[in-house]
Amino acid sequence: MQSTQYPSEYDAIVRTMQHYIEGCRHGRSDQMRGAFHPQSSFFGYAGGNLVTGTDFLFHWIDDNGPAPGIEPRIVSVDILETIAVVRLEVAGFSGKLAGADVRMSDVFTLLKTDTGWTIIQKAFHWH
């Protein structure tokens, strides 16, 4: 990728990620669904149990409700032409299911489609 392209691709990726973050903050999966590819997957451990599938994620976000104090930080954005990797750390997660002041580490992979950058996978670790 030409170095001049990086800033605009970076900004587009961050805009996609922002939909996810706002969905978490407000406890509304409808705000983040559009950022996910129809074939996207979801993997990780929650309370020691392996959970999979974006349906689980979206239901969890709605059931967890608002998490107004989340502190998201983008650790890295790597772009390889049509694919990208975003490392996200979220501190201060709260809510009906999350409890209080939980930290989550995420690895997102994204695919650049005709409609822009979409999340193709989210893998996470609860601390």
């Binding site: 990780g44 390889l80 690895v107 992979t109 695919l111 893998a123 601390h127």
Partner: protein, 211 residues
């Protein structure tokens, strides 16, 4: 000069590795692909040659005899106690062993060698000649087999990042040939792995074929 009398430290072919482990070549090749038998490769103009270190084979054999820990932790974690070896290195090595199933599958043109490295629900996505492919990892198993052998592939780990129970691997592969690819091609792949019952399993592969 004492080294001259020391036993040969390396085994220089599949035949020697098989003889050392008292198994067939077919079996030890399968062990490399599915059980992480530590086999190394030297790059040559035409075809790579393999070699293995006796001490690594012994360590691998010992881990295999020990079996998985009852506490569900990976054997690598147990070995840390008293050994002075950092758990990071052991997790890193366990991840590269899983990744070598993919590399072995690509080299041999046998997608089934890759299957044991993947979570049953693993998925993939990316573009091939401008067409988007996304769905089950079964597509990758089938494609690798249909493409056939690629004896000269050169894999390089551009990045391995471990975040507790998840890991990220950026693999660059060049000189990938075969029935479907034709001329040597270069692929950029990002794999996401999950530690399941003490083993690293691939849950996702996203790829980009470089022009």
């Amino acid at each position: 000069m004492a080294e001259r009398n020391a036993p040969q430290r390396t085994l220089e072919s599949w035949k020697q590795i098989a003889a050392y482990l008292d198994r067939s070549e077919r079996t030890v090749r399968r062990w490399e692909a599915s059980e992480g038998l530590p086999v190394h490769r030297r790059r040559h103009q035409k075809q790579d040659s393999v070699f293995a270190f006796r001490h690594e084979l012994e360590a691998w054999r010992q881990r295999r005899i020990d079996g998985p820990a009852e506490d569900g932790l990976p054997p690598s974690t147990r070995e840390v106690a008293g050994s002075g070896v950092s758990s990071y290195l052991l997790e890193h090595d366990a991840i590269t062993r899983t990744m070598h199933c993919y590399i072995a599958a690509a080299r041999e043109g046998n997608g089934e060698l890759f299957r044991p490295a993947c979570h049953p629900q693993a998925t993939m996505a990316g573009y091939c000649q401008g067409v988007e492919y996304s769905g089950s990892m079964e597509h990758v198993f089938a494609w690798v087999t249909a493409n056939g052998p690629a004896p000269n592939i050169e894999p390089r780990f551009a990045r391995i990042e471990i975040v507790e129970t998840i890991a990220l691997v950026h693999l660059e592969v060049q000189k990938w040939t075969g029935r479907l690819l034709g001329a040597p091609a270069r692929a950029s792949d990002v794999f996401t792995l999950l530690r399941v019952n003490g083993e690293w399993k691939i849950t996702h592969k996203v790829f980009h074929w470089q022009d």
